[in-house]
């Protein structure tokens, strides 16, 4: 196609300005698309759908099994179902604590010199129980 009509200077300025404006709009749009925050709820970024098990369970984070300690007390901490009574028993000490909303529990137990067999037990509504044991050796003198 060949332009036979000579463009007026006004039409030329207008066309140039429009090209510039549309170019800027296009680039702005491109930038927005590339840099817009990702939708975090997209199914690709969402984790697997898991439902917390409702069956009775107990895990002990502390103390570690076969721990040798030189301190007269030890932290007992772990996790179970929320608001559950946890019995912590050793050869010379017994106590019951309740787990928090998130199921975590923590307390400090005094140790006897030598071998300490520690058991943490949780009970369900009908008396079913789950327990976990730890052996801790308390030595008064460092080796």
């Amino acid at each position: 196609m060949k332009l036979t009509r000579k463009l007026s200077s006004k039409a030329f300025y207008l066309s140039q300005s429009l090209i510039l404006i549309f170019g800027l709009i296009f680039l702005s749009g491109l930038y927005y698309i590339l840099n817009s925050p990702q939708n975090n709820s997209s199914y690709t970024t969402r984790g697997p759908v898991t439902i917390l098990p409702k069956s009775l369970r107990i895990d002990l984070d502390l103390p570690e099994e076969n721990l040798l300690t030189f301190q007269p007390s030890v932290i007992v901490s772990g996790n179970t179902l929320p608001f559950t009574q946890v019995l912590i028993t050793t050869d010379s000490q017994d106590l019951v604590i309740e787990s928090k909303k998130d199921g975590s529990f923590s307390t400090v137990i005094k140790l006897d010199k030598g071998v300490n067999n520690l058991t943490a037990v949780v009970f369900g509504q009908n008396g079913e129980s789950k327990s976990i044991e730890r052996t801790v050796y308390y030595s008064k003198e460092k080796i």
Partner: protein, 194 residues
């Protein structure tokens, strides 16, 4: 005049549009680079923490159990978690006589295979006492110092309490104690479930 305007437009395009278009390309990669750097630092600090934790988990350990096998430089100790190997060296402090079936505590550090290098071996007295256990149940009768519980298997269990215990009929309780020869659970600790 038109030429001048053309030049101005070209200058505008060069100065504003091209750098802007390049920036669209360049900014994500620089962002990714900085994120990668942050990630690297995070991984390095986590690895160091993990290393410290692993080292901590291997030191100051004890194996408590019965001596099942014995050589000049090692013992096999049967613990409640199974057989464990304990190595003995010239620095190990141990009793003069150590026999098979002795109840011992081996104290030291373990390696990643679970073998404990003993710093000290302690001979422990054999426990003949009744094993402490626990019990859950509902009180169905109370008479003086003896109560009867209905346990989780709906079996009746006779329990002797110490004089300070304050329990009521139908209370749900958690007990610890031992079973005596008469099949009576001797409770040392009682907790009434609220």
């Amino acid at each position: 005049m038109i030429k001048l305007i053309n030049i101005i437009i070209i200058i505008i395009i060069i100065n504003f549009i091209i750098p802007y278009a390049l920036a669209v390309d360049a900014s994500p990669s620089s962002e990714i680079k900085s994120k990668l750097e942050e990630l690297k630092k995070g991984i390095a600090s986590k690895a160091a923490k993990l290393k410290r934790e692993v080292a901590q988990k291997l030191t100051n350990k004890s194996y408590v159990g019965t001596v099942e096998n014995k050589t000049n430089n090692s013992l096999t100790v049967i613990t409640k978690n199974g057989a464990k190997i304990v190595t003995i060296n010239q620095d190990t402090v141990s009793p003069k006589t150590l026999n098979l079936k002795n109840y011992v505590a081996a104290l030291g550090d373990i390696d990643d295979t679970g073998v404990l290098t003993a710093k000290k071996i302690i001979l422990l007295p054999t426990t003949n006492s009744q094993l402490k256990t626990y019990l859950w149940g509902q009180i169905i009768s109370i008479s003086d110092k003896l109560i009867t519980l209905k346990d989780k298997d709906v079996k009746n269990v006779a329990v002797s309490l110490n004089s300070q215990s304050q329990v009521k009929l139908n209370d749900f309780v958690i007990l610890t104690g031992t079973k005596n020869g008469n099949d009576i659970f001797e409770a040392g600790f009682i907790f009434v479930i609220p």
